[in-house]
Symmetry: C2
Subunit: 142 residues, 2 copies
């Protein structure tokens, strides 16, 4: 479908494999941390967004790359648990702003802490190594 040259040398394949492993482990730990707080992965992701600032439903859907109607259900469940609430947008009555409640903010903060712990493998690297890793990842992300 494309004449783009692709790297298939052993080194690249090895790096691709390592990245796949990192991705898999990251996901496991994220889901586990969410489950420890009685949340699903999707609920945890939405709550993390809302803990930064209230957002219109549509914006949440864009961030999560899914349909807005999907967000309705997720926020419903967060609301039923008292972790989020819907507020009117003073400037546009069509919009509903989803916002974290006090309890939601607390839960989000605990989750963030758990994630830092989950990401602890970085602790095995020296500062110079972390700098190097940062620069390489930055370049990879163009």
């Amino acid at each position: 479908m494309s004449p783009t040259p692709q790297r298939t040398d052993p080194l690249t394949l090895e790096v691709v494999d390592l990245i796949a492993t990192v991705v898999a482990r990251y996901h496991e730990e994220y889901e586990e941390a969410a489950a420890n707080h009685q949340l699903t992965g999707a609920q945890a992701r939405v709550l993390a967004l809302l803990s930064r600032e209230p957002l219109p439903m549509r914006h949440i859907a864009q961030q999560l790359k899914c349909e807005p109607s999907n967000i309705t259900g997720i926020v419903d469940r967060l609301e039923a648990r008292g972790l989020a609430e819907r507020r009117p947008d003073p400037a546009d009555r069509r919009i509903k702003l989803a916002a974290a409640t006090d309890e939601g903010h607390e839960t989000a903060a605990r989750l963030r802490g758990a994630l830092h712990f989950a990401r602890a493998p970085l602790a095995g690297l020296s500062e110079a190594e972390r700098t190097s890793l940062r620069d390489l990842l930055k370049r990879m992300l163009t």
Copy 2:
């Protein structure tokens, strides 16, 4: 919950953020590649496993870290599409070996190709950089 020292310096947080971005992008592209072949992410992951070798249902569940009963449905759908089939294990009649059909192997191969393309950002790195990245990732994964 734990006295483990946690790194919260700006550099570590930056790396954590970059990894989160890599994870998110990797996932998007994987789901997109799967969708291009009329597969869900879970189906693509199972098919990728089966394209390497036939596996007992239980082993698939262990690799995917889910319940075996979940695999039943996924293999059912792959089988309905003619991409996989169930074979008896000659040594143990309790076991059903899920295996990719010819068409399944072809689909898996096309998927792999699409993924290599999706992972192309690595192409922006020199060989020395890829080596460095490989070693850092290896160390991160202990």
